[in-house]
Amino acid sequence: MKRLGKRDEISYAKWGYIFILPFFIAFFIFQLIPMISTFYYSFFEYYRSGLTIIGPNPVGLENYQALFQSDFPKYMGNTVIMWLLGFIPQIIISLVLAAWFTDVRLRIHGKQFFKAVIYMPNLIMASAFAMLFFALFSPNGPVNAFLVSSGISAEPFRFLTSVWGARGLVGLMNFLMWFGNTTILLMAAVMGISPALFEAAELDGCSSTQTFFKITLPMIRPILVYVLITSMIGGLQMFDVPQILTNGKGTPDRTTETVIMFLNNHLYSKNFGMAGAISVILFIICAILCLVVYFVLNPEDEKAQRRRKRGKELKKKQAARAGAAEGRA
């Protein structure tokens, strides 16, 4: 007879550990150790000057001080501005589309087609998309050709040398890449609301607009928070689009330079102390946002579990009742 474990009892607990082990090993090697060393270097003077490596010399919080005296706050501001330029239209359009797609009074045909089309940019390689935009919006690209030939503008508009032109392009691309995704998420949330609620609202004389503000919006609040927070985290990571669009220079005058582009520059120039300090600040912001995501996702989890439990008990009760009825018959 085969014995399981040394204990005098069958236990499958060890399999739980075995199954989750690869994940945690990979996590520790490729994420945790790098993270710790990143944090560690943020307290050192450690950079390359010409061909010589300076440090590592412990300098305490000097890197952080230097960071806040540098253009870092400006880059943070750039990141937030460009994120908002994309996110505000994204959330508005997505809400409107989600409301329209789920409104039974509007009979929109080809929903599947529209969903497929608006989601597509989400899958496109951001760097290729940025390259495409760069080509399209360059002074002798097709957009300017159209602007000039149609008489809207007398001469080609130099998008990438105008602060708001460049930022606007980044915002537009972020919007295009994400509004389809958000629309689909919000739609699912709206469709998760019990149809009886909408019917009741209709009987109570709610107009479509009232239903949207009084029923739909409050009911999908958790998913809205989730979209907001994950989008903020995504926004903080903004890199590919402005990097390619401005060739890593954040032109004009570093008004499109994002935090991650800044980090990237320090990584390339091997200024590990500063790169570490940027990473730590990013980590702190993301950790707060992660906590919010956790609490958005998990109360629902527990609620779902309770619901399932209750359902099971109900089922049992029903079965018991059926059994009793049968016994009587």
Binding site: P22, F23, P34, L185, F239, S279, V293, N298
Partner: protein
């Protein structure tokens, strides 16, 4: 009255939808058109009709020694394919370990993964590059897909899917039938998870295919470069001297595989977005 307002709103909805669809499609339309035109034609201005230089552009791209597109595609395929396999298999395994077994560290492990669910990899990029250098894996493809073994977002998707579709009775039935725990996972659980695995494999593949930040830090050798790095190289080159037909063609090549997969599987991919509800 009610009917008329709905009618008006329907028209408004169609107008907005068509504009948005146009926005989404139009850039790709220009891309495809310009990929078929030669440099001179492109410089002359925009045209709605395709040109005749598709094969010339393709030929030029393939034969440019500075931009190794073929090896770029190959590298991207290797990295994305391996990442998709590793992420889905090990995330399913982890989700199963936390779903089907009871052990002391179960809850802490779950909370831990949930906490790092949306933590960006950029925050550990510095340490990652140094670690990879220390391990002698710098300038190789390994560090681009090995970390996919720990993919919290994929894990969360798999875990949710198991909660809704995998009754534990099934696992116990297999246990009584004499199936070992690994066998149960591979032979019973994985087949049941197939739809979720397919969706997540696609998402992981696409994300990795498009990934730029980390590969750009790890890879410097031309023959190891993935597509996004090649595109970036295109941008850093002196743009004005470039054959624009070639530029459009490379962009097209970089995004075409994803578009084709998407055209075939859009229904499932869109369903997958809502199932997991997790944005990369």
């Amino acid at each position: 009255m009610e009917k008329r307002t709905s009618y008006g709103r329907t028209i408004l909805a169609y107008v907005v939808l068509i504009i948005l669809a146009f926005l989404c499609l139009f850039f790709f339309y220009i891309l495809i058109i310009n990929a078929t035109r030669n440099h001179a034609q492109i410089q002359q201005g925009f045209s709605f009709l395709p040109g005749k230089s598709f094969w010339v552009n393709l030929h030029n791209v393939m034969n440019d020694a500075n931009i190794p597109v073929m090896s770029g595609i190959k590298n991207s395929l290797i990295v994305s394919g391996a990442a998709a396999i590793l992420a889905t298999y090990f995330s399913s395994l982890t989700a199963y370990g936390l779903y089907a077994y009871d052990f002391k560290l179960k809850r802490p492990a779950f909370i831990f993964i949930m906490l790092i669910l949306v933590m960006p990899t950029q925050v550990s990029a510095l340490g990652f590059v140094r670690l990879v250098t220390g391990m002698g894996m710098i300038n190789t493809l390994w560090p681009l897909f090995l970390p996919s073994i720990a993919a919290p977002a994929v894990f969360y998707f798999m875990y949710s899917y198991m909660q809704s579709t995998l009754p534990l009775d099934l696992v116990e039935a297999a246990r009584i039938d004499g199936s070992s725990e690994f066998r149960t996972f591979n032979r019973i659980v994985l087949p049941i998870m197939k739809p979720a695995i397919a969706v997540q494999a696609i998402f992981t593949f696409v994300t990795t295919w498009n990934n730029f930040f980390v590969p750009a830090l790890i890879i410097s050798d031309n023959s190891k470069k993935t597509m996004p790095i090649l595109i970036a190289a295109l941008r850093s080159a002196d743009f004005m001297k470039f054959d624009m037909g070639k530029v459009y063609m490379i962009i097209l090549i970089a995004i075409l595989p994803i578009i084709i997969v998407y055209l075939i599987l859009s229904r499932y991919i869109i369903a997958g977005v809502t199932l997991g509800g997790v944005k990369e």
